[in-house]
Symmetry: C2
């Protein structure tokens, strides 16, 4: 007798006592745990599954979401959904819950100044009424641009409010910069590794991407100059302070060098300043952004508050070089007409009183303490792990130092209720790397501690099943990528 697909045998009770999706999730879970759906096997496509079972597509989607959260299945973009490895031997954590997400840069919700911001929102509505909810001036709400000019002034950037455009977060800034500066076939230079959202934008724009490695000592300037002469890019995208994902901060000399190159080879630098408020060095940081040293007007500065205030603000700022204002206004209009007038006004009120400074103190204290906790953990894991010390920010760039891929570690950790960001996400064309980004931004400190314990277990498990010679043992600096 031919072995039939075990899914066909699933029975769902339609008496309404328990939602169909929940029954389906339970039934699939049992098949996986019993091994009838074996590790690595493909789950049929949603429509097919819905057809077999006689349920709506959405029922299937919800059931798969449950299994995915429990680490029993995983999605492979473009290939489908699969049963996670060793699901049988490794049942999910108690209750299928999620313990800690080391992959997320969404800051801990508990740290958001919700009450202060609520006050600011209500003030904005009371003061402006419907005006706050109508279309906005294309550059953005002027008092907010003035406040931003003042904040930038504190960082050594002298800029008029007319040159500051409000946008809906840094990602939009990257997207419209790509539109303004890059026609298809033109060239952009990126740091490697880099922020995945920038890869998404530049790949979607159909431009040529040239990657310049970030070493532990910073951007590889030898490589950069060689490539500049060959490719003549229009744009270089950099994060000069607490680079994502490496945490590297450029030295003043490196910044000066970069600006000279931008002048010499006539390209713009898109500088994403998204995390600079979080510097934990004991000496007061005196490093200004690249833009503060930009006497040739080559730098387009993006400033956002998603990580240091709240992602839900959905506001950011672009400092526009002379001559590009009209183009940026057009690209912003094409993107979403204007950013929320209510949020702009509320943020402006919020910046007006002490809330902002107090909030900065709070998050610096909290994240610095998390940073120290995780750093201590990473040191204890040496020589199993190797890491770069960012001296700030929300994450570490960590390497599996005894062989193994972070992508395998991610699968294995997910079953324990823990997520990491495998390094391949930060490269244009890598499928596996020993590096991963370990963020401590999200959740509570207690969950972070539990997460670290599980990470430790996961690392042990990875080592146990590991062919330690699979990756040649070189010096860390040489085998970065």
């Amino acid at each position: 007798m031919e072995k039939s697909n075990p899914i066909v045998g699933i029975q769902l009770a339609r008496n309404g006592e328990r939602p169909l999706y929940s029954q389906l999730a339970q039934a699939l879970k049992e098949l996986i745990i019993k091994g009838e759906l074996s590790s690595g096997s493909k789950i049929p496509p949603i429509r097919q599954l819905a057809g077999i079972l006689g349920v709506n597509n959405s029922t299937v989607v919800q059931a798969l979401e449950v299994l995915s959260r429990e680490g029993l299945i995983y999605k492979h973009v473009g290939r489908g959904t699969f049963v996670a490895p060793s699901s049988r031997s490794q049942p999910p954590v108690e209750g299928g819950g999620h313990v800690y997400d080391f992959s997320s840069l969404a800051p801990a919700t508990e740290l958001f100044p919700v009450l202060d911001f609520k006050k600011a929102l209500n003030r904005a509505l009371d003061y402006y009424g419907g005006e706050a909810l109508n279309y906005q001036p294309h550059l953005g709400y002027r008092p907010l641009r003035e406040k931003m000019a003042a904040l930038l002034g504190q960082e050594g950037i002298s800029v008029s409010p007319e040159r500051i455009m409000v946008i809906s977060g840094s990602q939009q800034g990257i997207d419209i910069s790509a539109k303004v500066l890059l026609e298809q076939g033109e060239t952009v230079f990126l740091e490697e590794p880099t922020y995945p959202g920038s890869l998404l934008t530049f790949q979607g724009r159909g431009v040529r991407i040239i990657n310049i490695p970030i070493r532990q000592s910073g951007l590889d300037f030898v490589e950069l100059e060689k490539r500049l002469a060959d490719f003549r890019p229009r744009l270089l995208f950099v994060m000069t302070r607490l680079q994502n994902p490496t945490g590297y901060s450029y030295t003043p000399e490196q910044k000066a060098h970069l600006l000279q190159l931008a002048y010499k080879y006539n390209f713009y630098i898109l500088e994403d300043d998204y995390l600079s408020a979080l510097d934990y060095r004991d000496y007061r940081s005196t490093d200004p952004p690249l833009k503060a040293m930009d006497r040739w007007d080559r730098v387009i500065l993006l400033k956002s508050f998603s990580k240091v205030l709240m992602p839900g603000l959905r506001l950011g700022f672009v400092i526009l070089p002379e001559g590009l204002q009209e183009d940026f206004l057009g690209a912003k209009y094409a993107a979403d007409i204007s950013s929320s007038g209510l949020m702009q006004r509320a943020f402006s009120f919020f910046l007006q009183d002490d809330s902002w400074e107090e909030h900065l103190k709070t998050i610096r204290r909290e994240f610095r303490s998390r940073y120290q906790l995780v750093k201590k953990f990473l040191k204890e894991q040496s020589p199993l792990l190797y890491f770069w010390d960012p001296e700030g920010g929300l994450f570490f760039w960590v390497r599996l130092n005894r062989g193994g891929w972070s992508e395998d570690l991610a699968v294995l950790l997910r079953r324990r209720g823990v997520d990491i960001a495998p390094g391949s996400a930060f490269f244009a064309g890598k499928r596996q790397t020993p590096w991963f980004r370990l963020s401590f931004a999200t959740g509570s400190k207690k969950d972070l501690e539990r997460g670290l314990d599980l990470l430790k277990d996961g690392l042990q498990e990875l080592q146990t099943g590991q062919d330690l010679d699979r990756i040649p043992q070189e010096e860390p600096e040489k085998r970065l990528f």
Copy 2:
């Protein structure tokens, strides 16, 4: 003695009693009114002006903004800023104020349900706290997507919440659809005339644009079929209900025809449904959107509430066809990561009680009465003006029927404190047309009435100075464009 530039003689008092920009605006105004800066002459570039006068660029910008609002100067994109014609003989309206903006589709602020929305915002913050201000699921907040599915169900569209993606307004929907569907060099078909924001997006994407005329009887299907065979587009962008700017609504037969063509020639239709709630016909409208008839899944429906609720909502919805979900999620991420979680939750609460239905009743009543007022006016102006009757919406598509260009009328009206939207804005390559869009969305009804009086005066003035034979007198239908 050589005649010096009159601007050099401007004296500004730096005693701080009156802002520099305001003094500068006044001084320039006097030069214009005295005729020392003559009609049509170019204002020096901002930096040069700032240099001459020893003030900041921003001071000059603010001063020019004042003059621009008063209609004394105008900008010509790419060419500079000029003194408006006949400024001397036609001083600005009392106090330099603005009377009515017939060019704007931003609905009257007084009609926004500010208090109800404020309540919804506070409920969202009280209920969800920081979660409302964090990153959001990429498809959007699920309860809102469920409500949207229910609303679409009332229009005959059966769709699961998994196929509804929240976006930051219709314009973003057009922009990400262009990214997902069109590589550079591919072809998009547009209605002609069409919404300027779509032109901005498609031109910025570097794709080939083919325009299909909208006649008074609807889209020119003969032209469309001829072009389809030649160009094989990937996408057609349409507004099937109350098309912007013509106000035309497709008949059910035209919709069926369009769908058959989409199937036959294998293209997607991007349908922007932005105004359908505003139908003033006495019989209950039974026309569903194209999407309701879409059995081949060729339609990408955009739904927004900017015009019927508040532009400041910055929310819209895309109904995704099977197979495009992943691509749209990626493009949305690249655009702005996610739309405001707070606005999504507030809108969801707002839709929950009676506020939404009540608001719809209010704006239908108000805009219908404005529609009737403007229609009466336009009839009275016949045969000077010719117009299409949209039987709904917020604007009329109007033609100068005795010669003259709407672009000239716009300049002339601006001096009277009135703006119209000249037709050329709605065409990809026209600089002059006798058509213009006359919107009655904004401001108070009283201002609208004053605006109509000034429009009448402006029309008289235009006729007086007019060579009536400049445009050949054909039948309206034949000389649409």
